[in-house]
Amino acid sequence: MQFMLLFSRQGKLRLQKWYVPLSDKEKKKITRELVQTVLARKPKMCSFLEWRDLKIVYKRYASLYFCCAIEDQDNELITLEIIHRYVELLDKYFGSVCELDIIFNFEKAYFILDEFLLGGEAQETSKKNVLKAIEQADLLQEYINDKLSRSVLPPLCLQ
């Protein structure tokens, strides 16, 4: 995988993970172009599209689009399930995850992604093992109970 982007229906970027070295300018350009391309597609359309010399695999969960760029030889369907498994991980960790969780806890979203994917490849596909790693880390943290005002948005609704 070359990169993964999460963005909202309004085109706001919520998470970006790059597995190939690119300049900031290039990253911004790619993001702009892809967000537009994906948002312009109708529901029911195919989840895959050719873009430059890459294949784009995307899926929408509630207000968020998850979008991965993979190479010619890579498997589209398994990438679609990589997206789903990541959503499951977020969902399990946050408990019915919604866009706001990812906005306010962006660092957690990155940590979970790093446990799941590294260098653009699946590192650990067991949900239990990934969450165990994250929970262990959480146990190491000082516990400051801080209720954030949450959830005005619908959860990402796992099917």
Partner: protein, 929 residues
Amino acid sequence: MPAVSKGDGMRGLAVFISDIRNCKSKEAEVKRINKELANIRSKFKGDKALDGYSKKKYVCKLLFIFLLGHDIDFGHMEAVNLLSSNKYTEKQIGYLFISVLVNSNSELIRLINNAIKNDLASRNATFMNLALHCIANVGSREMAEAFASDIPRILVAGDTMDSVKQSAALCLLRLNRTSPDLVPMGEWTARVVHLLNDQHLGVVTAATSLITTLAQKSPDDFKTSVSLAVARLSRIVTSASIDLQDYTYYFVAAPWLSVKLLRLLQCYPPPEDASLRSRLSECLETILNKAQEPPKSKKVQHSNAKNAVLFEAIALIIHHDSEPNLLVRACNQLGQFLQHRETNLRYLALESMCTLASSEFSHEAVKTHIETVISALKTERDVSVRQRAVDLLYAMCDRSNSKQIVAEMLSYLETADYSIREEIVLKVAILAEKYAVDYTWYVDTILNLIRIAGDYVSEEVWYRVIQIVINRDDVQGYAAKTVFEALQAPACHENLVKVGGYILGEFGNLIAGDPRSSPLVQFNLLHSKFHLCSVPTRALLLSAYIKFINLFPEVKGTIQDVLRSDSQLRNADVELQQRAVEYLRLSCIASTDILATVLEEMPPFPERESSILAKLKKKKGSSKLPDMDDSRKNVNGSAEHAEDAEVASKVPSHTFTDNLSVNSAPSSGASLLVDVFSDFSSAAPTESSDEHFPRFVCKNNGVIYENQLLQIGLKSEYRQNLGRMYVFYGNKTSTQFQSFSTSVSSNDVLCSHLNVQEKPVDPLIEAGAQVQQILNIECVSDFSDAPVLNIQFRYGGTLQNIAVKLPVMLNKFFQPTEMTSQDFFQRWKQLGAVISPQQEVQKIFIAKNQMDTDVTKAKLLGFGVALLDGVDPNPVNFVGAGIIHTKTTQVGCLLRLEPNTQAQMYRLTLRTSKESVSQRLCELLSEQF
């Protein structure tokens, strides 16, 4: 699981994020961010030492700001400090900051590497993982230099924890991708292969990726992985679905690992060892069998995971290309998917079948699905799926079905999306040539292409038809007759005039016996098109005329009269003038013998690969195309291949186009057939510009681009969904611009919404001169991007490249609408009632310019709406209405602009019946005040 209060809430960070989210405008956001940056800077600079928590919080804020898209130029040192904190959360944030915002500052890199080194040596799995993630995320050369030799050691050490092994494997994979030279091969490689046997499936998953990457580069070193991978795969596919516990995904056993193992096997040929080979075949058969079993779950995740493995297995079967039985089964399976209700599966089946079509074992099996594929071409709603269907038809085409496939592609072309027309044209041209048994069919097909999609027929295509007609004397008479008939149409495409001019000039004599196509009729027919054509075409026609003088002495007088007319002899275009003068003179002074020698029929072209194929390859990337090379060389039965295409192609083409221009400067005519085979690519950097773009939102004329050499001015007019843009290129230098050419490009999304057609432009611009080009624009449906005008020319010795964003915006297709106050409010309420909040878009923004009523009025009128006076109860407000015309729909738009002079702000509200239109118009207009 407790949802909130996970770990360490950073209250200050949450408050800051809330603040940003509450900002009403971009300006407010920038203001808030600047305030925060100043605050953080002062904290970092203050005398009071910050505690770890505050440092972490501020670093995290900086990270958030950076991820919003703002530049961050400090805080790196503080982040590096966090790396050596004992507290995990602080260390973690430090690493995250470094991973995202790595800076090549050498001093820092040394410090970062030190911290990583300590963590790698810590024997604490959590810390080691953080360090490895950081290396994998950054993947820079400096890090590769520092750690590429340590990581293999960690990976294969007996006492390394599983999770660390996983990170180490993928970390090494990343370093191997970015700096392969720095990752030393050694005795560790043998031990890495044995990780395929590891008990922990997570370790196997990570290791398989690493081994695949390494095996692609040096397959011999990892040969032993084949038997291990087959064994592992076999255990997975035969396991009961619960055996693998958490590695079972929606009843599919370890789908990710299965896909990776199948991928690894694609680095190698089929195993030679018979028992291994049969074990692998069993695996593949099992996977194919499972596809026929009833699904264990209705969830799409189940079928996706199962089919992901299936498609990868099919990819391996195709890669091996050795088991006819498996290939045919794969083909049948894909055939089922062609009619599946999931669009995704239809897409993948079409794609995968394309590669299957090139195998001799399955080619016939693929062909049986032709009707399904043709119907996909006609009925699929998603253009990307239709594109796959076109690819597959192209791949499955052979002599037996070529007529059907070419006919279907031609009929699809009439309605095809603009974005894929050119590619279909190329494909049809290639198939028609490759499978032409009788060349009359070929000629008919190409002329049909020009008729249906003339604008998309590139030079390569019509050059090629001429080459073939010249080289094959059995088709010349037919070609002359057919073009003569096609030219009778009252409106025919300029490309047809070119082909017609060339062919009649060479072979018009073959049909001159029929009084209906006598020399004079032929000449009059060609000449009737002359004045509608561009300069290069006229130049070609002039050459055809002089050829006529040789072929048909009886029309010599008529043609000489034409050449002698002021519009030729005194033509403003130097090339046309020169040709007219020289041809006229030649026809007057040369003897019949000399004329016959000079204007002899073109010699056959040397044989070579079709330039159309080269163009298609360039367009698609050669990897995706099945090899179509075999018989293409045999246009006239000779398989000889010209070694030096450049020289060879110049000889015959010059005789026709330029042999008479005495001091031929690089001219339009000269390039007519010479450039067919030379690839005009250039490494010159492109200068791109969109700085003047916003100025054209509310006006249509002005200078869009200017540098030291060139000035580009625009004049445009729009009516309903159509527009015409006059582009003026001014040469500001005292040297001629040569090989001047332009092209308009749109991204994939845009080109299905907006159609821009460019008229040809003169390839020469004299010093100080200005030339004009016309662009015709059609708005198909609403759009938000803008097309780009690419300009290329030679100035002195260097090739100049310029890209200018063309100011074609959605609001250009406005027709103002007058309405009464009553109508307006009724409509406004209607739009308000049915919405979906997105149909209304509102934006509040700060005035960038002085708030002047007259200026605002002028801008709104320029934007394209009618201003409605006396509608809004508040007289300072502006209210406007208009209709956006696109080919597919019309979208009514109402807008209201409320200035607040005290606050120096505006509130803009747009209501339209379409969300994307409201959005785009709001973006465009709100930048104007």
